[in-house]
């Protein structure tokens, strides 16, 4: 009974979607959070320019990113030796890149909204640069969590990258969005509706969670 449920394609596709987009978001957080905190805390000459770049990249069309990544990951592409096309890792990398500007931009805003005196205060109390950064991070943790949640939402709902570098392969790279897109073409509307409901449930649940968090922080 349980085994059958675990073998159910809908369950497997849902788990795969959560896993791929979750990993992508966490992976992206590894570089995006430090980058966001750094840009947010420091004042340097190209700061507005850097912020502008990340803001512009927020609107990156997923088909464009998908095509670029396909050309890179393709056997004859620059990164062809990695044999990443088609694979779930390729989707993870793609979605991690896709959400980078979201985490960076939102983290910058969160960090900038922290009272700058905190840094000075921490430093007068003998904190090192890293310790001061951590103090800022603690103050802006609400915004940072929001950034990560919003990124996950974007990742799990995107189609372009997953289709271009994953290929919607049954039992391997099929995620919710690609399955819905291709099963509709196949005329399997009811199956698609089931998957759509799951996708919507995930996205809405996360949006509601985000709103609740936002209210608590304010």
């Amino acid at each position: 009974m349980v085994w059958e449920f675990l073998q159910n394609p809908i369950f497997q596709i849902t788990i795969r979607s959560l896993h791929i987009s979750g990993t992508a978001t966490l992976l992206s957080a590894l570089w995006s959070l430090p980058l966001g905190i750094l840009i947010g805390m420091k004042s340097f000459s190209g700061k507005q320019f850097a912020k502008g770049i990340f803001n512009a990249l927020l609107g990156m069309p997923t088909v464009a990113l998908g095509l670029i990544l396909y050309l890179l990951f393709s056997r004859t592409g620059a990164l062809g030796f990695l044999h990443l096309f088609p694979s779930p890792q390729a989707i993870i990398i793609g979605q991690a890149i896709l959400v980078t500007p979201i985490i960076v931009s939102l983290t910058i805003s969160a960090v900038e909204s922290v009272d700058p005196e905190i840094v000075d205060l921490a430093k007068t109390l003998g904190a090192s640069e890293l310790e001061a950064s951590l103090a800022v991070l603690r103050e802006s943790i609400g915004g940072v969590v929001l950034a990560i949640i919003a990124s996950f939402n974007r990742a799990i709902a995107e189609l372009g990258v997953a289709l271009a570098v994953g290929g919607n392969i049954r039992g391997f790279t099929q995620v919710l969005t690609t399955t819905i897109a291709l099963e509709v073409n196949r005329g399997k509307i009811e199956y698609s509706i089931q998957l759509m409901i799951i996708l919507l449930a995930i996205v809405f649940a996360i949006t509601i969670l985000t709103n609740l968090l936002q209210r608590r922080i304010k």
């Binding site: 088609p86 919607n168 073409n185 005329g187």
Partner: protein
């Protein structure tokens, strides 16, 4: 408090690392070899490939990965080394693919017919006409704004066939596509049928996909012109060329091609859809060609899908003559 944050960050890094490691493990750790097959949408949309996959994987230690993209992109995938083999249906393109040195060991696996399908009202009066006459009528009616034509518009096998049919009927496709009544869907077969159905338009469809969609009640278009040598549709399997892309799973591709052309594989093709649709969606081609069981049919296939009298010219047989005996 700051220690808390350090713990959180460490936890975050740990989770990320474990997730990535987990992905690498579950993707790379499997004992089965992968075989990436880029395929025309018609074989995929009808679910024939799902049936084949189940039976093949039960027998061999190879994981089949189908990417459904249409003949144009399938060939591109193989040219770039992204697919180990392809399943396609556009002989003219297959020939240039072979000649370009990208593929070897072509085998014709199945055939069926294209159909010109359209609304039941049939404003262009094409029912049971010859394909070329039917197309002339559609152009005329279209220009009078009483009919529409939906084209795949995606460089697929069906699209290639459509362009060929326009030429046979005496029209220039490049000018037709700019006319009002000519709609380019830029989509796979299933989607294109759905678009035509919504627009009450005519379109060219492979019989397999059409029948499935019609019998499943997804579309109500009628198959109006279904006969004639011009409408023949031939499916082939071609392995990638390992001297060009050394990383491909060539042995796997040959194993799969042998399975498709074996009695067992041909049986799956012959029986697919019989119980659901009352008739086969695809006809097996191997026995027919080998024993010349229906001479007219064999002649049609040879006229349309053979190159210089060969299913696969000897220079592209790549030390696998056993496929052709």
């Amino acid at each position: 408090m700051q220690r808390n944050i350090v713990i959180w960050i460490t936890a975050l890094i740990l989770v990320a690392v474990v997730s990535v490691a987990g992905t690498v493990y579950y993707v790379g750790g499997g004992p089965k070899k992968k075989l990436v097959v880029s395929t025309t949408t018609s074989l995929y949309d009808t679910e024939l490939l799902d049936t084949i996959e189940d039976q093949f994987e039960a027998k061999y230690s190879i994981d089949l990965y189908f990417i459904s993209v249409g003949t144009g992109l399938a060939i591109k995938h193989a040219e770039r080394g992204d697919a180990d083999m392809i399943l396609v249906h556009a002989p003219s393109k297959e020939l240039s693919f072979l000649e370009g040195g990208y593929g070897v060991c072509r085998k014709i696996i199945a055939y069926n017919f294209f159909a010109i399908v359209g609304p039941e009202a049939d404003p262009a009066n094409i029912k049971d006409l010859s394909p070329t006459q039917a197309l002339s009528n559609i152009v005329e009616t279209g220009r009078n704004e009483d009919a529409k034509w939906v084209s795949r518009g995606d460089d697929s096998g069906t699209h290639t066939k459509e362009k060929g049919l326009w030429t046979t009927a005496g029209f220039n496709w490049t000018t037709l596509r700019n006319e009002e009544w000519y709609v380019e869907a830029g989509a796979g077969m299933g989607k294109t049928l759905q678009v035509s159905d919504n627009l009450d338009a005519y379109t060219l469809a492979d019989m397999g996909t059409y029948l499935k969609y019609y019998k499943d009640g997804i579309i109500s278009l009628e198959a109006l012109v279904t006969e004639g040598e011009e409408l023949l549709n031939v499916y082939s399997a071609i392995a990638g060329n390992q001297t060009r892309h050394s990383g491909i799973n060539f042995d796997g591709a040959i194993t799969f091609i042998k399975f498709l052309t074996s009695e067992e594989g041909q049986e799956i093709i012959a029986n697919f859809g019989k119980d659901m649709y009352g008739q086969s969606l695809f006809y097996p081609a191997v026995d027919l060609l080998k024993h010349n069981t229906v001479p007219t049919m064999v002649q049609w296939i040879k006229n349309y899908a053979f190159f210089n009298g060969y299913e696969c010219p000897p220079e592209y047989q790549d030390d696998h003559p056993e496929l052709y005996t």
